[in-house]
Symmetry: none
Subunit: 230 residues, 2 copies
DNA sequence: CGCTTTTGCGACAGTCTTGTAACAGTTTTA
DNA sequence: TAAAACTGTTACAAGACTGTCGCAAAAGCG
Protein backbone atom coordinates (compact mmCIF):
# COMPACT_ATOMS: atom_id res chain seq x y z
CA UNK A 1 0.00 0.00 0.00
CA UNK A 2 1.24 3.43 -0.86
CA UNK A 3 1.50 5.83 1.98
CA UNK A 4 1.75 9.16 0.31
CA UNK A 5 -1.23 10.38 -1.62
CA UNK A 6 -0.87 9.10 -5.15
CA UNK A 7 -2.95 10.68 -7.90
CA UNK A 8 -6.23 8.95 -8.54
CA UNK A 9 -7.04 8.21 -12.15
CA UNK A 10 -10.44 7.26 -13.45
CA UNK A 11 -10.13 4.94 -16.39
CA UNK A 12 -13.22 4.72 -18.55
CA UNK A 13 -12.91 1.93 -21.06
CA UNK A 14 -15.32 -0.80 -22.00
CA UNK A 15 -13.02 -3.27 -23.66
CA UNK A 16 -11.61 -5.63 -21.04
CA UNK A 17 -8.23 -6.24 -22.69
CA UNK A 18 -7.47 -2.54 -23.05
CA UNK A 19 -8.69 -1.92 -19.58
CA UNK A 20 -6.37 -4.45 -18.09
CA UNK A 21 -3.29 -3.27 -19.93
CA UNK A 22 -3.91 0.34 -19.04
CA UNK A 23 -4.83 -0.45 -15.51
CA UNK A 24 -1.65 -2.48 -15.10
CA UNK A 25 0.56 0.26 -16.43
CA UNK A 26 -1.11 2.95 -14.41
CA UNK A 27 -0.74 0.94 -11.26
CA UNK A 28 2.87 0.19 -12.09
CA UNK A 29 3.42 3.92 -12.31
CA UNK A 30 2.04 4.23 -8.79
CA UNK A 31 -1.27 5.78 -9.66
CA UNK A 32 -4.41 4.72 -7.90
CA UNK A 33 -6.93 3.54 -10.45
CA UNK A 34 -10.71 3.60 -10.56
CA UNK A 35 -12.46 1.75 -13.34
CA UNK A 36 -15.67 2.58 -15.12
CA UNK A 37 -17.14 0.55 -17.96
CA UNK A 38 -19.55 3.01 -19.47
CA UNK A 39 -20.43 6.67 -19.56
CA UNK A 40 -23.03 6.67 -16.83
CA UNK A 41 -20.85 4.80 -14.43
CA UNK A 42 -18.09 7.26 -15.25
CA UNK A 43 -20.17 10.29 -14.40
CA UNK A 44 -21.20 8.67 -11.17
CA UNK A 45 -17.68 7.81 -10.15
CA UNK A 46 -16.45 11.29 -10.90
CA UNK A 47 -19.05 12.66 -8.50
CA UNK A 48 -18.18 10.19 -5.81
CA UNK A 49 -14.42 10.07 -5.95
CA UNK A 50 -13.38 13.22 -7.77
CA UNK A 51 -10.33 11.75 -9.48
CA UNK A 52 -7.28 13.80 -10.35
CA UNK A 53 -7.45 12.87 -14.01
CA UNK A 54 -9.71 10.95 -16.37
CA UNK A 55 -8.69 8.68 -19.21
CA UNK A 56 -11.74 8.40 -21.39
CA UNK A 57 -12.42 6.09 -24.27
CA UNK A 58 -14.21 7.68 -27.20
CA UNK A 59 -16.47 4.77 -27.96
CA UNK A 60 -18.57 3.75 -25.04
CA UNK A 61 -21.83 1.92 -24.59
CA UNK A 62 -24.65 3.87 -23.01
CA UNK A 63 -23.18 7.35 -23.11
CA UNK A 64 -20.39 8.20 -25.52
CA UNK A 65 -17.07 9.58 -24.43
CA UNK A 66 -17.75 12.90 -26.09
CA UNK A 67 -20.97 13.26 -24.22
CA UNK A 68 -19.37 12.34 -20.91
CA UNK A 69 -16.67 14.89 -21.54
CA UNK A 70 -19.17 17.57 -22.51
CA UNK A 71 -21.11 17.02 -19.32
CA UNK A 72 -18.07 17.07 -17.12
CA UNK A 73 -16.80 20.24 -18.70
CA UNK A 74 -20.13 21.98 -18.33
CA UNK A 75 -20.15 21.68 -14.58
CA UNK A 76 -17.97 23.94 -12.52
CA UNK A 77 -17.00 21.32 -9.97
CA UNK A 78 -15.65 18.89 -12.49
CA UNK A 79 -14.42 21.29 -15.15
CA UNK A 80 -10.89 21.44 -13.80
CA UNK A 81 -10.27 17.71 -13.96
CA UNK A 82 -8.07 16.97 -16.97
CA UNK A 83 -9.59 14.58 -19.47
CA UNK A 84 -7.53 12.56 -21.90
CA UNK A 85 -9.53 11.08 -24.75
CA UNK A 86 -8.64 7.79 -26.35
CA UNK A 87 -9.87 7.13 -29.82
CA UNK A 88 -9.45 4.65 -32.62
CA UNK A 89 -10.36 7.31 -35.14
CA UNK A 90 -7.49 9.15 -36.60
CA UNK A 91 -9.20 11.73 -38.75
CA UNK A 92 -8.24 15.28 -38.02
CA UNK A 93 -11.92 16.09 -37.86
CA UNK A 94 -12.31 13.89 -34.87
CA UNK A 95 -9.33 15.34 -33.14
CA UNK A 96 -10.85 18.73 -33.47
CA UNK A 97 -14.19 17.52 -32.24
CA UNK A 98 -12.52 15.82 -29.32
CA UNK A 99 -10.81 18.95 -28.20
CA UNK A 100 -13.91 21.00 -28.88
CA UNK A 101 -15.84 19.01 -26.35
CA UNK A 102 -13.29 20.18 -23.86
CA UNK A 103 -10.90 17.26 -23.62
CA UNK A 104 -7.53 18.44 -22.45
CA UNK A 105 -5.63 15.97 -24.51
CA UNK A 106 -6.23 13.41 -27.18
CA UNK A 107 -4.46 10.16 -27.93
CA UNK A 108 -5.10 8.10 -31.03
CA UNK A 109 -5.17 4.33 -30.99
CA UNK A 110 -3.05 2.44 -31.48
CA UNK A 111 -1.06 4.54 -29.11
CA UNK A 112 2.18 4.04 -27.28
CA UNK A 113 1.59 3.53 -23.63
CA UNK A 114 4.71 5.47 -22.95
CA UNK A 115 3.25 8.42 -24.75
CA UNK A 116 -0.01 8.11 -22.90
CA UNK A 117 1.85 7.96 -19.61
CA UNK A 118 3.79 11.04 -20.57
CA UNK A 119 0.61 12.93 -21.38
CA UNK A 120 -0.90 11.85 -18.11
CA UNK A 121 2.14 13.07 -16.23
CA UNK A 122 2.11 16.32 -18.12
CA UNK A 123 -1.55 16.96 -17.49
CA UNK A 124 -1.27 16.06 -13.83
CA UNK A 125 1.68 18.37 -13.43
CA UNK A 126 -0.38 21.12 -14.89
CA UNK A 127 -3.16 20.89 -12.31
CA UNK A 128 -1.33 19.40 -9.43
CA UNK A 129 2.23 20.59 -9.20
CA UNK A 130 3.41 18.39 -6.37
CA UNK A 131 3.03 14.76 -7.25
CA UNK A 132 4.44 11.41 -6.36
CA UNK A 133 8.08 11.17 -5.50
CA UNK A 134 8.44 14.89 -5.09
CA UNK A 135 9.99 16.54 -2.16
CA UNK A 136 7.65 18.68 -0.15
CA UNK A 137 9.06 21.43 1.98
CA UNK A 138 7.58 23.86 4.42
CA UNK A 139 9.77 25.99 6.62
CA UNK A 140 12.16 23.56 8.23
CA UNK A 141 10.03 20.50 7.56
CA UNK A 142 11.00 18.28 4.66
CA UNK A 143 9.05 15.32 3.35
CA UNK A 144 10.71 13.20 0.69
CA UNK A 145 8.20 11.23 -1.32
CA UNK A 146 10.82 8.86 -2.64
CA UNK A 147 12.50 7.82 0.55
CA UNK A 148 9.52 8.47 2.78
CA UNK A 149 11.78 10.36 5.08
CA UNK A 150 10.58 13.28 7.14
CA UNK A 151 12.97 15.66 8.74
CA UNK A 152 12.58 18.79 10.77
CA UNK A 153 15.53 21.11 10.97
CA UNK A 154 17.63 18.29 9.60
CA UNK A 155 16.63 15.81 12.28
CA UNK A 156 14.77 12.71 11.22
CA UNK A 157 11.23 12.27 12.48
CA UNK A 158 9.42 9.07 13.23
CA UNK A 159 5.91 9.05 11.78
CA UNK A 160 3.29 6.37 11.37
CA UNK A 161 1.66 5.88 7.97
CA UNK A 162 -1.41 7.91 8.86
CA UNK A 163 0.58 10.78 10.29
CA UNK A 164 2.71 10.78 7.18
CA UNK A 165 -0.25 11.02 4.85
CA UNK A 166 -1.78 13.67 7.03
CA UNK A 167 1.38 15.72 6.92
CA UNK A 168 1.70 15.23 3.17
CA UNK A 169 -1.82 16.49 2.70
CA UNK A 170 -1.06 19.65 4.61
CA UNK A 171 2.25 20.19 2.92
CA UNK A 172 0.74 19.98 -0.52
CA UNK A 173 -1.16 23.11 0.33
CA UNK A 174 0.49 24.95 3.16
CA UNK A 175 -1.81 27.37 4.91
CA UNK A 176 -4.99 25.91 3.57
CA UNK A 177 -7.57 24.97 6.14
CA UNK A 178 -8.88 21.43 5.85
CA UNK A 179 -12.07 20.42 7.61
CA UNK A 180 -12.11 17.14 9.45
CA UNK A 181 -14.34 15.70 6.76
CA UNK A 182 -11.93 16.73 4.03
CA UNK A 183 -9.07 15.18 5.91
CA UNK A 184 -10.98 11.96 6.40
CA UNK A 185 -11.63 11.97 2.70
CA UNK A 186 -8.06 12.56 1.64
CA UNK A 187 -6.10 10.75 4.26
CA UNK A 188 -8.32 7.87 5.22
CA UNK A 189 -10.13 7.31 1.95
CA UNK A 190 -13.56 8.03 0.70
CA UNK A 191 -15.45 5.01 1.82
CA UNK A 192 -14.04 4.31 5.22
CA UNK A 193 -16.20 5.09 8.17
CA UNK A 194 -14.29 6.73 10.96
CA UNK A 195 -15.35 9.13 13.67
CA UNK A 196 -14.43 12.70 12.90
CA UNK A 197 -12.91 13.08 16.33
CA UNK A 198 -10.31 10.53 15.28
CA UNK A 199 -8.79 13.27 13.17
CA UNK A 200 -8.13 15.29 16.29
CA UNK A 201 -6.24 12.48 17.87
CA UNK A 202 -4.02 12.04 14.84
CA UNK A 203 -3.45 15.75 14.61
CA UNK A 204 -2.32 15.57 18.19
CA UNK A 205 0.04 12.73 17.43
CA UNK A 206 1.43 14.53 14.42
CA UNK A 207 1.92 17.65 16.51
CA UNK A 208 3.80 15.71 19.10
CA UNK A 209 6.01 14.10 16.49
CA UNK A 210 6.75 17.43 14.83
CA UNK A 211 7.63 19.15 18.10
CA UNK A 212 9.48 16.31 19.78
CA UNK A 213 12.82 17.76 18.86
CA UNK A 214 11.74 21.28 19.67
CA UNK A 215 10.34 23.98 17.42
CA UNK A 216 7.03 25.77 17.13
CA UNK A 217 3.74 24.06 16.72
CA UNK A 218 3.10 24.52 13.02
CA UNK A 219 -0.35 22.98 12.99
CA UNK A 220 -2.87 25.68 13.43
CA UNK A 221 -6.29 24.86 14.85
CA UNK A 222 -9.04 26.83 13.21
CA UNK A 223 -11.90 26.70 15.61
CA UNK A 224 -15.10 25.51 14.05
CA UNK A 225 -13.40 24.87 10.72
CA UNK A 226 -10.49 22.47 10.89
CA UNK A 227 -6.72 22.52 10.77
CA UNK A 228 -4.03 24.10 8.68
CA UNK A 229 -0.28 24.03 8.36
CA UNK A 230 1.54 27.22 9.22
CA UNK B 1 29.39 8.36 -0.01
CA UNK B 2 28.60 6.11 -2.91
CA UNK B 3 30.17 6.29 -6.30
CA UNK B 4 27.87 4.61 -8.76
CA UNK B 5 28.68 3.96 -12.31
CA UNK B 6 25.33 3.97 -14.05
CA UNK B 7 24.98 2.10 -17.31
CA UNK B 8 25.12 4.24 -20.41
CA UNK B 9 22.31 3.71 -22.86
CA UNK B 10 22.31 4.90 -26.43
CA UNK B 11 18.82 5.78 -27.55
CA UNK B 12 18.33 5.90 -31.29
CA UNK B 13 14.97 7.37 -32.18
CA UNK B 14 14.04 10.01 -34.68
CA UNK B 15 10.64 11.05 -33.45
CA UNK B 16 11.06 13.84 -30.90
CA UNK B 17 8.06 12.95 -28.75
CA UNK B 18 9.11 9.35 -28.33
CA UNK B 19 12.66 10.38 -27.74
CA UNK B 20 11.75 12.67 -24.96
CA UNK B 21 9.52 10.22 -23.20
CA UNK B 22 12.04 7.43 -23.36
CA UNK B 23 14.88 9.66 -22.40
CA UNK B 24 12.91 10.90 -19.45
CA UNK B 25 12.11 7.43 -18.27
CA UNK B 26 15.62 6.12 -18.72
CA UNK B 27 17.02 9.00 -16.78
CA UNK B 28 14.47 8.47 -14.07
CA UNK B 29 15.75 4.91 -13.78
CA UNK B 30 19.21 6.30 -13.22
CA UNK B 31 20.70 5.41 -16.56
CA UNK B 32 22.93 7.78 -18.39
CA UNK B 33 21.48 8.48 -21.80
CA UNK B 34 23.00 9.33 -25.16
CA UNK B 35 20.74 10.35 -27.99
CA UNK B 36 21.06 9.71 -31.70
CA UNK B 37 18.56 10.79 -34.31
CA UNK B 38 19.51 8.58 -37.19
CA UNK B 39 21.49 5.50 -38.13
CA UNK B 40 24.73 7.20 -39.04
CA UNK B 41 24.83 9.26 -35.91
CA UNK B 42 24.13 6.08 -33.97
CA UNK B 43 27.07 4.21 -35.46
CA UNK B 44 29.30 7.15 -34.72
CA UNK B 45 28.21 7.45 -31.13
CA UNK B 46 28.68 3.77 -30.52
CA UNK B 47 32.30 4.11 -31.64
CA UNK B 48 32.87 7.14 -29.49
CA UNK B 49 31.11 6.27 -26.27
CA UNK B 50 30.69 2.49 -26.39
CA UNK B 51 27.40 2.38 -24.52
CA UNK B 52 26.36 -0.55 -22.35
CA UNK B 53 23.14 -1.06 -24.26
CA UNK B 54 21.37 0.31 -27.30
CA UNK B 55 17.69 1.01 -27.72
CA UNK B 56 17.13 1.17 -31.43
CA UNK B 57 14.09 2.28 -33.36
CA UNK B 58 13.28 0.17 -36.42
CA UNK B 59 12.31 3.02 -38.67
CA UNK B 60 15.05 5.55 -39.07
CA UNK B 61 15.95 8.13 -41.66
CA UNK B 62 19.25 7.69 -43.39
CA UNK B 63 20.15 4.20 -42.25
CA UNK B 64 17.46 1.85 -41.00
CA UNK B 65 17.50 0.25 -37.59
CA UNK B 66 18.00 -3.17 -39.10
CA UNK B 67 21.03 -2.00 -41.01
CA UNK B 68 22.51 -0.32 -37.97
CA UNK B 69 22.04 -3.47 -35.99
CA UNK B 70 23.58 -5.62 -38.71
CA UNK B 71 26.65 -3.45 -38.86
CA UNK B 72 27.12 -3.37 -35.13
CA UNK B 73 26.79 -7.10 -34.88
CA UNK B 74 29.29 -7.70 -37.66
CA UNK B 75 32.09 -5.97 -35.84
CA UNK B 76 33.79 -7.73 -32.99
CA UNK B 77 34.22 -4.63 -30.85
CA UNK B 78 30.55 -3.80 -30.84
CA UNK B 79 29.04 -7.23 -31.13
CA UNK B 80 28.64 -7.76 -27.42
CA UNK B 81 26.56 -4.65 -26.84
CA UNK B 82 22.94 -5.67 -26.33
CA UNK B 83 20.53 -4.14 -28.79
CA UNK B 84 16.85 -3.78 -28.10
CA UNK B 85 14.78 -3.06 -31.18
CA UNK B 86 11.66 -0.95 -31.06
CA UNK B 87 9.14 -1.40 -33.77
CA UNK B 88 5.64 -0.40 -34.66
CA UNK B 89 5.28 -3.49 -36.78
CA UNK B 90 3.74 -6.41 -35.08
CA UNK B 91 3.98 -9.11 -37.70
CA UNK B 92 5.80 -12.20 -36.62
CA UNK B 93 7.86 -11.92 -39.77
CA UNK B 94 9.38 -8.74 -38.58
CA UNK B 95 10.09 -10.08 -35.17
CA UNK B 96 12.03 -12.90 -36.69
CA UNK B 97 13.90 -10.60 -39.00
CA UNK B 98 14.73 -8.32 -36.13
CA UNK B 99 16.29 -11.11 -34.19
CA UNK B 100 17.99 -12.47 -37.27
CA UNK B 101 19.88 -9.26 -37.71
CA UNK B 102 21.26 -9.90 -34.27
CA UNK B 103 19.07 -7.80 -32.04
CA UNK B 104 19.09 -9.21 -28.54
CA UNK B 105 15.55 -8.27 -27.83
CA UNK B 106 12.55 -6.85 -29.55
CA UNK B 107 9.76 -4.70 -28.24
CA UNK B 108 6.66 -3.92 -30.21
CA UNK B 109 5.02 -0.53 -30.07
CA UNK B 110 2.85 0.32 -28.33
CA UNK B 111 4.81 -1.15 -25.46
CA UNK B 112 4.60 -0.86 -21.75
CA UNK B 113 7.32 1.34 -20.37
CA UNK B 114 7.46 -1.07 -17.51
CA UNK B 115 8.16 -3.92 -19.85
CA UNK B 116 10.80 -2.06 -21.80
CA UNK B 117 12.58 -1.13 -18.61
CA UNK B 118 12.44 -4.71 -17.48
CA UNK B 119 13.97 -5.91 -20.73
CA UNK B 120 16.69 -3.33 -20.48
CA UNK B 121 17.49 -4.45 -16.99
CA UNK B 122 17.44 -8.08 -18.04
CA UNK B 123 19.75 -7.51 -20.98
CA UNK B 124 22.15 -5.45 -18.95
CA UNK B 125 22.30 -8.19 -16.38
CA UNK B 126 22.88 -10.83 -19.02
CA UNK B 127 26.04 -9.41 -20.48
CA UNK B 128 28.73 -10.28 -18.02
CA UNK B 129 31.82 -9.83 -20.10
CA UNK B 130 32.31 -6.53 -21.85
CA UNK B 131 29.94 -4.69 -19.60
CA UNK B 132 31.70 -1.63 -18.45
CA UNK B 133 32.11 -1.48 -14.72
CA UNK B 134 28.56 -1.41 -13.47
CA UNK B 135 29.80 -1.50 -9.96
CA UNK B 136 27.25 -0.48 -7.42
CA UNK B 137 28.36 0.87 -4.11
CA UNK B 138 26.55 2.01 -1.04
CA UNK B 139 28.40 2.79 2.12
CA UNK B 140 30.60 -0.22 2.70
CA UNK B 141 28.63 -2.53 0.45
CA UNK B 142 29.98 -3.21 -3.00
CA UNK B 143 28.26 -5.12 -5.76
CA UNK B 144 30.34 -5.93 -8.79
CA UNK B 145 28.21 -6.34 -11.88
CA UNK B 146 30.86 -8.32 -13.72
CA UNK B 147 31.74 -10.95 -11.20
CA UNK B 148 28.48 -10.77 -9.30
CA UNK B 149 30.50 -10.63 -6.13
CA UNK B 150 29.22 -8.76 -3.15
CA UNK B 151 31.42 -7.51 -0.39
CA UNK B 152 30.77 -5.63 2.77
CA UNK B 153 33.66 -3.82 4.40
CA UNK B 154 35.93 -5.79 2.13
CA UNK B 155 34.65 -9.16 3.26
CA UNK B 156 32.94 -11.31 0.70
CA UNK B 157 29.28 -12.10 1.21
CA UNK B 158 27.41 -15.21 0.19
CA UNK B 159 24.12 -14.35 -1.50
CA UNK B 160 21.59 -16.42 -3.41
CA UNK B 161 20.47 -15.21 -6.83
CA UNK B 162 17.27 -13.70 -5.53
CA UNK B 163 18.99 -11.88 -2.72
CA UNK B 164 21.51 -10.58 -5.21
CA UNK B 165 18.88 -9.17 -7.51
CA UNK B 166 17.02 -7.74 -4.56
CA UNK B 167 20.15 -6.02 -3.32
CA UNK B 168 20.97 -4.78 -6.81
CA UNK B 169 17.51 -3.28 -7.10
CA UNK B 170 17.98 -1.38 -3.90
CA UNK B 171 21.48 -0.30 -4.77
CA UNK B 172 20.42 1.12 -8.08
CA UNK B 173 18.42 3.66 -6.12
CA UNK B 174 19.66 3.91 -2.59
CA UNK B 175 17.12 5.38 -0.24
CA UNK B 176 14.16 4.88 -2.47
CA UNK B 177 11.27 3.00 -0.96
CA UNK B 178 10.02 0.06 -3.00
CA UNK B 179 6.67 -1.47 -2.28
CA UNK B 180 6.44 -5.23 -2.15
CA UNK B 181 4.62 -5.17 -5.47
CA UNK B 182 7.33 -3.12 -7.11
CA UNK B 183 9.95 -5.49 -5.80
CA UNK B 184 8.05 -8.49 -7.10
CA UNK B 185 7.88 -6.76 -10.43
CA UNK B 186 11.54 -5.93 -10.63
CA UNK B 187 13.16 -8.84 -8.90
CA UNK B 188 10.87 -11.73 -9.66
CA UNK B 189 9.44 -10.56 -12.95
CA UNK B 190 6.10 -9.18 -13.84
CA UNK B 191 4.23 -12.30 -14.76
CA UNK B 192 5.32 -14.60 -12.01
CA UNK B 193 2.78 -15.20 -9.34
CA UNK B 194 4.33 -15.05 -5.92
CA UNK B 195 2.87 -14.12 -2.58
CA UNK B 196 3.80 -10.64 -1.47
CA UNK B 197 4.86 -11.96 1.91
CA UNK B 198 7.60 -13.87 0.18
CA UNK B 199 9.33 -10.55 -0.25
CA UNK B 200 9.53 -10.19 3.50
CA UNK B 201 11.23 -13.52 3.86
CA UNK B 202 13.84 -12.65 1.28
CA UNK B 203 14.39 -9.29 2.85
CA UNK B 204 15.02 -11.12 6.07
CA UNK B 205 17.51 -13.42 4.39
CA UNK B 206 19.27 -10.53 2.73
CA UNK B 207 19.41 -8.74 6.04
CA UNK B 208 20.95 -11.72 7.71
CA UNK B 209 23.52 -12.07 4.96
CA UNK B 210 24.43 -8.40 5.08
CA UNK B 211 24.86 -8.39 8.83
CA UNK B 212 26.50 -11.74 9.27
CA UNK B 213 29.92 -10.19 9.53
CA UNK B 214 28.68 -7.38 11.68
CA UNK B 215 27.58 -3.87 10.73
CA UNK B 216 24.31 -2.01 10.89
CA UNK B 217 21.13 -3.20 9.32
CA UNK B 218 20.99 -1.08 6.20
CA UNK B 219 17.59 -2.26 5.03
CA UNK B 220 14.99 0.10 6.32
CA UNK B 221 11.44 -1.12 6.80
CA UNK B 222 8.91 1.54 5.97
CA UNK B 223 5.75 0.44 7.65
CA UNK B 224 2.77 0.39 5.33
CA UNK B 225 4.94 1.17 2.32
CA UNK B 226 7.81 -1.19 1.70
CA UNK B 227 11.56 -1.34 2.09
CA UNK B 228 14.52 0.85 1.27
CA UNK B 229 18.27 0.74 1.45
CA UNK B 230 19.90 3.10 3.90
C1' DC C 1 -18.28 35.94 34.73
C1' DG C 2 -20.90 31.47 34.28
C1' DC C 3 -22.37 28.51 30.55
C1' DT C 4 -21.87 26.10 26.22
C1' DT C 5 -19.23 24.35 22.58
C1' DT C 6 -15.06 22.81 20.79
C1' DT C 7 -10.56 20.87 21.11
C1' DG C 8 -6.50 18.35 23.43
C1' DC C 9 -4.93 14.23 24.85
C1' DG C 10 -4.01 10.06 28.03
C1' DA C 11 -5.45 5.43 28.22
C1' DC C 12 -6.73 1.15 26.23
C1' DA C 13 -8.27 -2.67 23.63
C1' DG C 14 -8.42 -4.41 19.12
C1' DT C 15 -6.38 -4.78 14.61
C1' DC C 16 -2.89 -4.93 11.24
C1' DT C 17 1.95 -5.33 9.90
C1' DT C 18 6.24 -7.35 10.07
C1' DG C 19 10.05 -10.75 11.44
C1' DT C 20 11.19 -15.30 11.39
C1' DA C 21 11.49 -20.34 12.04
C1' DA C 22 10.07 -24.41 9.98
C1' DC C 23 9.11 -27.16 6.06
C1' DA C 24 8.46 -29.23 1.72
C1' DG C 25 9.47 -28.97 -3.04
C1' DT C 26 13.02 -27.71 -6.68
C1' DT C 27 17.21 -26.74 -8.69
C1' DT C 28 22.09 -26.75 -8.72
C1' DT C 29 26.41 -28.66 -7.62
C1' DA C 30 29.81 -32.06 -6.69
C1' DT D 1 23.00 -39.82 -7.98
C1' DA D 2 23.27 -37.85 -3.62
C1' DA D 3 24.12 -33.79 -1.13
C1' DA D 4 23.73 -29.06 -0.74
C1' DA D 5 21.66 -24.79 -1.77
C1' DC D 6 17.76 -22.23 -2.77
C1' DT D 7 12.71 -21.07 -3.04
C1' DG D 8 7.98 -20.07 -1.78
C1' DT D 9 4.56 -20.69 1.72
C1' DT D 10 2.73 -20.90 6.10
C1' DA D 11 1.90 -20.12 10.95
C1' DC D 12 2.71 -17.67 14.87
C1' DA D 13 4.58 -14.02 18.06
C1' DA D 14 6.01 -9.45 18.95
C1' DG D 15 5.07 -5.10 18.51
C1' DA D 16 3.45 -0.99 16.01
C1' DC D 17 -0.51 1.52 14.84
C1' DT D 18 -5.36 2.72 15.07
C1' DG D 19 -9.87 4.22 16.57
C1' DT D 20 -12.71 5.36 20.44
C1' DC D 21 -13.85 7.13 24.77
C1' DG D 22 -13.88 10.19 28.62
C1' DC D 23 -12.60 13.97 30.89
C1' DA D 24 -9.86 18.19 31.30
C1' DA D 25 -8.72 22.44 29.17
C1' DA D 26 -9.57 26.21 26.18
C1' DA D 27 -12.32 29.26 23.51
C1' DG D 28 -16.43 31.66 22.38
C1' DC D 29 -20.39 34.34 23.99
C1' DG D 30 -23.97 36.82 26.26
Amino acid sequence: MATIEHPLILLVEDEPAQREVLSYNLTAESYRVNLAQDGEEAIMMVREDSPDLIVLDWMLPNLSGIEVCRRLKSRAETRAIPVIMLSARSEEVDRVRGLETGADDYVIKPYSIVELMARIRANLRRVRPSTVGMVLEFQDIRLDGETYRVTRAGKSLQLGPTELRLLATFMERPGRVFSREQLLDRVWGRDIYVETRTVDVHIGRLRKALCRQGGDDLLRTVRGAGYALG
